[in-house]
Symmetry: C2
Subunit: 482 residues, 2 copies
């Protein structure tokens, strides 16, 4: 239900604005369980669109879905030393079941490498069983101290891909391929531009050889890690004895990858596009792409307007446009506009008696706020091209915003000023020393988001570390992050 | 990977046969966690087909999806007296999280009435907010002592619908509507005939006013409860204070329903249709509806046969037929046939050099086992009609099998003989006394599956209780059950 109070603005209080956008659009709600959210129908509908698109991309790249248990024996977690160190402190543990204390406590999965690779050990015998390319859609639990709707919740929904390969090169290619899938999804579906690259050792996944990520810059100039893809090397294969007979007859450990995105993406979507009127959702992911609002005063007008609106509804739906007719009685059109704007519907069609007479409708865009009269004839294809244009414009606007907030080749002083001031991405040289990285984090709260891939690197590569002045080993992108 | 050993037959050992069908088709596997299974890609693909079909039916009847937390505060479960009595003994309980003991333990949801209705109390204010029609796809946990793959596992996947209404009549209509959806899904998609009806008080859901179910008879003549729909009355609304302002301005409790089906359906699918060669899957739910097996000896044959096979693959896929081309090298066609039969693929097309020359293919059906040569021209529509015929034939065969195993108007002696002998459904009079019901269960292991709906009742209604001879209050259907 729309409330009449205006939202807190982004400039006034970004964090309050974020929560109010979610509440007003009824995307999610707090639950009685600490740190756990409820994803309401309007929010879940976006997740369903995301799932469908991603699932298709996973299947098109040869992956199959499966489902593994929620519970993991506590001892499994400990088999990979870095992994247990990274995850044990934030686990939820079942100690009682069926009225009895369990002999071995069960961890509610924070991620499923251990349980999945214990099964792969059983399923994989020979090089003929490779590659094994499996994905799972699941809920996971990480006991977080500070939680925020979608961005960091104790329980969240995600997908986790887990693959096994016969060579390091193949595993690396898979890791990079899935990073590319995430990038494509972020850009083409979410209209959210990302930079891709490798994480430093201090930011990589606990147990991975190398972690790659997509990072997006939010409107408050903080970065969001939106998806990760890990080359796990043979670390888990050794821990769970996942071996195979090579084509030459010898026995070797497999090479694994894992990769995931979560409901956190919805938080990223909100913070990339939304404005002080509420949610802005790219057409490709919107639950309703078009809402039709009929306008009438008399009963006679009502009949002809609703007839026209219903014809239009059928026509748009037949053309594959997700369209909703808001025929609620006893609610003024203006109140409906206000509500659908807050809910992020990309396009609105208003139809009154004059529109019916002129065989036209009034088209209002969620972004840009220009209204124009458009003929009924050929409206479905007009709507299609409007949506395509909006999808591209949102991506372009977000990319321009990010570039305006990016600084390349900063000095130490400029870096500090940025991090204490407007924020954003800073590209600069890095000596590669974890001590330098830790010092920067402590003094500026900024972390290295990625060592960017070639395409994102500055034309003029830095030669010295922005912080300590030692020779640079790689350009890095810093930001404060969610 | 196909093993060469023949399956145990159904008549030799139904339970062993069931497990072997699952293993051979790679549908599921045991996990290292007691009672939890892994749903392997071949099994999960069937679940995905089921989900898609059901989800469409739920949305077509006005429901939306959402997601509620996995964890439920232990105190919530206790608020509805019957509910806690029914579920508390089989819960898994998280007592430690983030390295600390929790002040209030969290139950891993065995079902979500309590957590969901606690949110509804927040969301529902007025009659305008009703009906609220929400479904969730989720995992749930019930600590079972004896588990069987798909049929009874500690963790399982399901959907649970939860609705709130302004009147008892509306809630009852919703309960019956969703039972109808389940019946339609079972019959039209799973080709699994069901009888519908009401559960007796001793078999109803803990906390419900009335429970309705669909029951299907498996090939071993035991019944499977395949889906339930509950009219919860105002029981949970009272416990969680879910009230609303009526259109007249007074305050009343809402009326709730809940309904669910689970991965148990896959067990039902297996035990309804499969045979001693392995899985039989109705075309509508098959991961692959058609598999193409190319046959060749020389390199020259290989080229032309694979060309024809690939053309056919494209043609069938373009027609919307889920088709797989099995072009594996170094494996004899016979071994492939054997494997795909065990995996339940409805139709197989074999293409050899002679077929290519004659512009035909050899069509083999999974059921009936007749092979015939069919022309390539128009093959897609031929395949479509073959699949429709198979879908109908499977339902018909299962219905005939069930009717042959059903006895109407049995005497007490006949009843005992049946339950100790061949099993099946027995229709007979029931006095309505829980004591009588309990005695029957203890002496024969048979339970009342449903008090059948009108359509399923015997033409001649019984007048006395089959067991005690007192006047009958309703005809009942008994069986031993899973």
């Amino acid at each position: 239900m729309a409330e009449s109070k205006a939202l807190t603005t982004r400039t006034a209080d970004f964090s309050a604005w974020y929560n109010e956008v979610i509440a007003r659009a009824e995307l999610a709600d707090y639950s009685p369980v600490r740190g756990c959210m409820v994803i309401r129908p309007n929010g879940y509908a976006i997740w369903e669109q995301m799932q469908q698109a991603l699932d298709r991309m996973f299947k098109d790249t040869g992956h199959q879905n499966a489902y593994f248990p929620l519970f993991i024996p506590q001892s499994f977690l400990s088999r990979e030393a870095e992994h247990v160190e990274g995850f044990a402190p934030e686990t939820a543990v079942v100690t009682i079941a069926g009225g009895k204390e369990l002999e071995e406590p069960l961890v509610v999965r924070p991620t499923s490498e251990t349980i999945i690779y214990s099964m792969y050990a059983k399923w994989i015998q020979s090089y003929r069983d490779l590659p094994l390319l499996i994905n799972q859609w699941a809920n996971v639990v990480r006991w977080e101290l500070r939680t925020r709707l979608f961005l960091r919740t104790t329980e969240f929904l995600w997908q986790e891909g887990h693959t096994a390969h016969a060579s390091e090169a193949e595993a690396e290619a898979e890791t990079r391929q899935m990073l590319g899938v995430y990038r494509r999804f972020a850009e083409e579906w979410m209209a959210m531009p990302v930079i891709t690259g490798r994480k430093t050792d201090s930011e990589k996944f606990a147990g991975a050889l190398r972690t790659y990520a997509i990072e997006a810059l939010m409107q408050d100039n903080k970065s969001l890690q939106a998806g990760t893809s890990h080359n796990l090397g043979q670390n888990f294969a050794r821990a769970f004895e996942v071996t195979y007979q090579t084509s030459e007859g010898s026995i070797d450990f497999v090479w694994n990858t894992s990769w995931g995105v979560s409901t956190r993406l919805i938080g990223g979507l909100i913070m990339t596009h939304s404005d002080d009127s509420g949610l802005v959702c790219p057409p490709k992911l919107a639950q309703w792409q078009v809402v039709i609002v009929p306008i009438f005063r008399t009963d006679e007008e009502r009949g002809s307007v609703l007839d026209a609106a219903e014809r239009l509804l059928r026509e748009l739906r037949a053309a594959g446009v997700r369209t909703h007719l808001d025929a609620r009685e006893g609610m003024k059109p203006g109140a409906k506009y206000y509500e659908w704007e807050a809910r992020g519907v990309p396009l609105r069609l208003e139809i009154g008696p004059r529109d019916v007479a002129a065989e036209s409708a009034m088209l209002a865009r969620r972004v840009g706020a220009r209204k124009e009269s458009v003929p009924m004839a050929g409206l479905a294809s007009r709507i299609q091209s409007e949506m395509e244009a909006m999808q591209i414009a949102l991506l372009e606007a977000a990319r321009e915003r990010r570039e305006r907030a990016s600084l390349r080749g900063a000095t130490r002083a400029e870096f500090i000023a940025r991090m204490e001031g407007e924020g954003g991405f800073v590209y600069a040289g890095f000596c590669g020393a974890p001590t330098c990285e830790a010092e920067i984090k402590e003094q500026t709260k900024a972390t290295i988001r990625v060592l960017p891939d070639e395409e994102f690197r500055s034309p003029k590569q830095p030669t010295t570390c922005m912080w300590c002045g030692a020779p640079s080993t790689a350009e890095a992108v810093w930001a404060r992050a969610y």
